[in-house]
């Protein structure tokens, strides 16, 4: 009976675990049968291994599963988010541009309206009343009603009441050679532009032109914004499409 060497113990341990080659195993088995020391060492290794294998196994007190936060995984972003962010940016630009342009447009329209009101409309009765009158009595007779002609326009454009008509009529003293004009009557209060005197026609034409210009400007701004909205909306749709295509290229399915 011999004391096993370290090499022998290593061989015995591997033999116990079935880790020896066929030839090594056969040689060791012959030695074990003839050497009581090797046989005893083998038995003790077997007992030790069995003892260790009986060590109780614990159950974990909690699970060790990972959360997305622990694993550094961000929650999946909906596919439309990048696209929608672009659309949002475009919409914001559109909003700012519209707001700014609207303010500028209002200022411009207001300025134009006040200019128009200052010249022919608001004080329409005054300048018109001060205009030289035609010498003919017929013309003179038609003046007072003519003064009333812009009256319907005046409240609309400037807020000046139509009561300026009598003032206009009374503030124009007739020429010396003129006969006293008959007071305006219902029949004479309605005259056509053709019946007016040339300077009055000119003023009336100015009034009408100013009115048309104002309407055109208002119409211009009324039409320009929907048009711009359509253009910017189309741009947003194109941007959405381009971004979607780009996103799909970067994140192919599967």
């Amino acid at each position: 009976m011999t004391t096993p060497s370290s090499r022998d113990l290593e061989q015995l341990s591997a033999y116990l675990d079935g880790q020896l080659s066929q030839s090594s195993r056969a040689r060791l088995e012959i030695r074990i049968q003839s050497d009581a020391g090797l046989a005893s060492a083998l038995e003790e290794l077997r007992q030790t291994r069995a003892f260790l294998r009986r060590t109780p196994h614990r159950r974990t007190l909690h699970n060790f599963t990972l959360t997305p936060g622990m694993a550094g995984i961000r929650p999946p972003v909906p596919r439309l988010v990048p696209v929608l962010s672009w659309v949002s940016a475009v919409a914001m630009l559109f909003f700012i541009f519209t707001l700014g342009a609207s303010l500028v447009g209002q200022l411009y329209v207001g300025k134009t309206a006040s200019m128009n009101a200052a010249v022919p409309m608001g004080g329409g009765a005054g300048p018109l009343a001060a205009a030289p009158m035609a010498p003919s009595s017929a013309n003179t007779a038609t003046m007072a009603p003519l003064m009333a002609a812009p009256a319907p326009l005046a409240p609309a454009a400037t807020g000046v009441p139509a009561t300026s008509v009598p003032l206009a009529a009374s503030s124009n003293p007739p020429a010396a050679d003129q006969t006293a004009p008959p007071p305006p009557t219902e029949e004479t209060s309605i005259v056509s532009v053709e019946q007016a005197t040339p300077p009055a026609v000119s003023r009336l034409a100015q009034l009408q032109a100013a009115s048309k210009s104002l309407k055109r400007q208002v119409n211009y701004w009324l039409f320009i914004w929907p048009g711009m909205a359509v253009i910017l909306g189309a741009s947003a749709i194109v941007a959405w499409g381009l971004n979607k295509r780009d996103f799909q290229r970067k994140n192919p399915p599967g």
Partner: protein
Amino acid sequence: MDESALILDAQHGDLQAFNTLVLAYQDVLFNTALRILNDEDQAADAVQEAFLSAFRALNSYRGGSFRAWLLRTVTNACYDELRRKKRRPTTPFEPETAEGEEVESPHWLADPHASPEESLDQAELEHAVQHCLENLPPDFRAVVVLADIQGLDYSEVAIAVHKPLGTIKSRLARARLRMRACLQGFRELLPVAYRLEEESSL
């Protein structure tokens, strides 16, 4: 459980698939860490760290025993923890009774399905094994825990500790001899069923 499919899904970032693998292997990893570190809290930390590392490095897994691959991560985490403990040693918390006496086998360590006698026997056995494991160098401890307590074959142990087979054979034989010698000291303390036979020639 189709392990290969789960691993493949997890490699593509499927956390749920990985967590299925975690649930399948967490007991093995926890017991390994517990035997190496002899501290439940540290073992739990090491296991959590190991699973986190495993998930991050999952693409480096190239097949073979997934259990061994996972055990390698937990063994590394345990080595890190042992190195940290060596640098900053701490006094482990020992539970005490109401009278201030130390409790050797806390109630939360007991197997709820075992009888009181069995629980006591198992606690004694566990205490003896753990004490003897503590006396082994960390490299030997890991090998004997993986091979004899967890039942891995040599090739899996070699993967887990990242050492050649020859080194595993040598370390295991020497570790068994040391364990044998240590456990003999507990012979009188252990229940009869767990006693080793009287030493003869070793």
